[in-house]
């Protein structure tokens, strides 16, 4: 430590007493405004310690005399939002789906709420806007496995499909190939027949005509019970329409053969209990309004 404070002759300022290669550093004080701002921040910090959660303790912390907590603040804001929604939600709970759909105000509210709930819960499989992806069906088209009316959609959302819920939509297509119910040639013929139903008939040839004919016989025996004599399906049983342009598991012959041999069976969870009834209603309204509602 310097014992004597040296003054710089030119500026009149104290020096730090250090010398490097003949250069001495001035001990210039901090600008006053800067210093005062620092003091102010210290004072601010002390006030903050007292008012807000600050000092940690082994298994707890000092909560501050205001007892502020972000979690609590969030809960309060959520409660406020819920209170703001409650008027509409009460009306939604009391109204039937048809009543909601015919009331523009309720409809707009349910649509917006349904959209938010859809994006959170349904979009991971069904895609944004219900576009569908992979083997998850599109909800925006006009083809429905289990029915596209408001009530049918609500039931599907509530109980799910093959979800294990006692009221779930359930069906099971037999594994015709894997369980050796049909041999390879028969499966091939049925697939050819099914393709012919949707007008995708392969080029006319003797073999094809014969395959369609024999496939038709097998279809009538094995498939028509669920898919109907005309192949138009049955929404009561969740049997898809085989005559249209929409194929959940693919529309090529190989896809159809594979589905007959060892069918894939999609599962959708039951949302009752996970989502409240008003949200499920809103979802039904939203899905119905995606464009395919019946």
């Amino acid at each position: 430590m310097a014992t004597k404070v040296e003054k710089d002759a030119i500026t009149g300022q104290d020096t730090t007493g250090h010398e490097w290669d003949g250069l001495k550093e001035l001990n210039t004080p901090l600008p006053k405004w800067w210093l005062y701002v620092m003091y102010a921040t210290i004072a601010f910090a002390v006030v903050w310690w007292v008012l807000y959660p600050s000092w940690p303790w082994f298994n707890t912390y000092f909560p501050g005399i205001l007892h502020y907590s972000q979690r609590k603040a969030l809960d309060e804001r959520m409660a406020e939002a819920a209170a703001a929604r409650s008027g509409y939600e009460k009306r939604l709970a009391a109204a039937s789906l048809e009543q909601i759909a015919s009331d523009p105000q309720l409809m707009a509210f349910a649509y917006a709420g349904g959209q938010a709930a859809f994006n959170d819960n349904c979009a991971p499989c069904h895609g944004l806007g219900g576009a569908g992806q992979g083997n998850y069906p599109s909800l925006a088209d006009d083809s429905w496995l289990w029915g596209g009316t408001l009530d049918a959609i609500e039931t599907t959302i509530k109980y799910g499909i093959r979800s294990g819920n006692p009221d779930a939509r359930f069906n099971q297509m037999p594994a015709f190939g894997a369980d050796k119910m049909l041999d390879q040639k028969q499966i091939d013929d049925v697939a050819t027949y099914v393709l012919s139903l949707s007008g995708e008939a392969p080029a006319e040839s003797k073999d094809q005509a014969a395959a369609v004919k024999s496939g038709g016989v097998i279809f009538a025996e094995q498939c028509a019970a669920c898919h109907g004599d005309d192949g138009k399906g049955n929404q009561e049983l969740g049997a898809p329409n085989l005559t249209d342009d929409i194929w959940l598991y693919g529309g090529t012959k190989a896809d159809i053969v594979r589905q007959i041999y060892q069918p894939r069976q999609g599962v959708m969870p039951a949302w009752e209990g996970r989502l409240d009834p008003v949200t499920i209603k809103s979802l039904a309204i939203y899905v119905h309004a995606l464009g395919g509602g019946q």
């Binding site: 409809m107 088209d141 006009d142």
Partner: protein, 508 residues
């Protein structure tokens, strides 16, 4: 010759004075404490103009929020109101929606070029007469003068030891300042809230946090800026003085000191000869009255706000000692030279610089007026769905979803007939409306945005048919595969049709 900010008087002149401008205290370091300015009261032409402008501007500021303007039921009846919560701004005849905020850009441009024009003609007239900083500082100085007395009395009061009189005087002054500041902050929030309602709410303690916050904020800033910061706002905070020199030329009227007539300056006793000396008697009244604390005899400088109070002070003195007036005067650089050589003065207000500024002002101003007067009360937006881009239907047809937003600024419901054009065989349905077909009526509710979901379907044989390339869009070689152009036509009851072109997508 160009203007330069002189930081010191030319060397070689010896003078002895005791009132000095703070610039002459040459030991100015990078940071210097403020040297308090005790502006002396003055009478004269510019002072009268300043009072008149002050009364007019304060009058406008305080009265305008109380003007009423009938817009019909359910709509604010305040003539000038920026209603943030409901996203509307009302300016007498006009109602601006947030989408039209770009008008603000043009208003700012008008302000900027107006300022350029005024400066190139009359120097810093804005700063000296109309700037809120000047107006409120003037008002606060007037209050100060009424309570503490003029320059000399105020200097004595500040130097005097603390006494009951001093506390009383200072306390009264600050109370008066705070009252004016509160009225100023109070008037400010009236531009954003219904004036009578918010006044009642503020007084009864029922106003919102935001209202009290801005009321407090503008009270505080007024008090600080007009009471304490004063000329420092102009010198250190405002960017305007920094580039005003670029807008001035030899024909701009600025406050100038006729050095050729005033120098050499010296005190003058009655009866002494005026031979061999200048008209300036070094009374320093021009410095004493200056609200910026500068000496105009140093030449045009950054701090000068061009208020002309030194002109009044000097004219008063010249009149009393019987010398020609206008030793300090509002004049141009060119005239200063000419009169020095005994030539007559010339005035050139119309010159390329002012003409260009005026032309720009005219163009922007008429553009805004045309824009506002022909502004449509309906705006239609058509948005093609992104998810899904298209939907394949069971019969092989392709459907696209659209959102139509109709922004209806009028007070009545507007009806539109929707029709499609561009794709043969396309049909559409509107969510929530019955039926499917090629025509539908959409109602746009008043004073809001009404949203419709529209589904357009093209049957399979047409959807897979590439004929549209040859039929309708053969001219567009860069058309993306799987994308067709679709036009939605919305016709209102008066038969006016609005067309919005969008796309129709299908699988590639």
């Amino acid at each position: 010759m160009s203007f330069e900010f002189q930081t010191a008087p030319p060397t070689g002149e010896v003078r002895v004075e005791d009132a000095v401008s703070f610039k002459e205290l040459k030991k100015t370091p990078l940071y210097a404490s403020r040297i308090k300015v005790y502006a002396k009261a003055v009478r004269g032409r510019f002072r009268r103009i300043k009072w008149a402008v002050l009364i007019a501007l304060l009058g406008i500021y305080y009265i305008v929020p109380w003007l009423r303007w009938d817009r019909g039921p359910g709509v604010p009846d305040q003539a000038l109101l920026i209603d943030m919560p409901s996203r509307r701004a009302y300016f007498f005849w006009f109602e601006i929606w947030p989408q039209e905020i770009y008008y603000l850009t043009f208003v700012l441009m008008l302000g900027a070029f107006g300022l350029f024009l005024a400066t190139s003609i009359g120097g810093r007239v804005w700063c000296g007469f109309t700037c809120p900083q000047t107006v409120w500082t003037d008002l606060f100085m007037w209050v100060e003068r009424r309570i503490e007395g003029d320059r000399g009395a105020r200097i004595r009061l500040d130097k005097a030891p603390l006494s009951r009189t001093k506390i009383l005087r200072k306390g009264t002054k600050h109370a008066a300042w705070l009252l004016i500041a509160a009225l100023t902050g109070g008037a400010w929030i009236m531009y954003f809230n219904d004036a009578p309602t918010v006044t009642r709410a503020i007084v009864t303690g029922e106003a919102s946090f935001a209202q009290y916050f801005f009321f407090g904020l503008f009270t505080l800033t007024t008090y600080l800026f007009a009471g304490f910061a004063r000329e420092q706002v102009c010198t250190f905070m405002c960017p305007w003085p920094r580039f005003q020199a670029a807008l001035l030329d030899q024909d701009s009227y600025v406050v100038t000191y006729e050095r050729w007539r005033g120098e050499p300056r010296a005190p003058h006793k009655k009866g002494q000869s005026w031979e061999g000396r200048g008209d300036c008697i070094a009374c320093n009244n021009c410095v004493a009255v200056c609200p910026m604390g500068i000496d105009i005899r140093d030449g045009l400088q950054l701090e000068c706000i061009g208020c002309g109070l030194c002109v009044d002070a000097c004219n008063d003195v010249m009149g009393r000692i019987g010398r020609p007036r206008e030793l300090i005067t509002l004049d141009t650089e060119r005239n200063l030279q000419q009169r020095m050589q005994g030539l007559p003065s010339t005035t050139r207000i119309i010159r390329p610089r002012t003409l260009i500024y005026a032309a720009i002002l005219l163009v922007i101003g008429s553009g805004v007026l045309i824009g506002l007067s022909t502004r449509s009360t309906v705006d239609i937006n058509v948005l093609h769905d992104r998810n899904p881009l298209f939907v394949t239907l069971s019969d092989g047809g392709i459907r696209n979803g659209y959102t139509i937003k109709i922004l209806n600024k009028s007070r009545t419901t507007q009806h539109f007939d929707l029709a499609l054009r561009g794709i043969a065989g396309a049909s559409f349905s509107v969510l929530g409306e019955e039926g499917e077909g090629s025509g539908a009526e959409l109602a746009a509710r008043p004073d809001t945005v009404t949203t419709y979901r529209v589904f357009v379907t093209v049957p399979r044989k047409l959807a897979n048919h590439d004929g549209e390339h040859g039929e309708h869009h053969g001219d567009d070689e860069h058309e993306e595969a799987g994308v067709q152009r679709l036009t939605m036509v919305l016709t209102d009851r008066a038969g006016a049709a609005a067309e919005r072109t969008t796309v129709f997508r299908r699988p590639d």
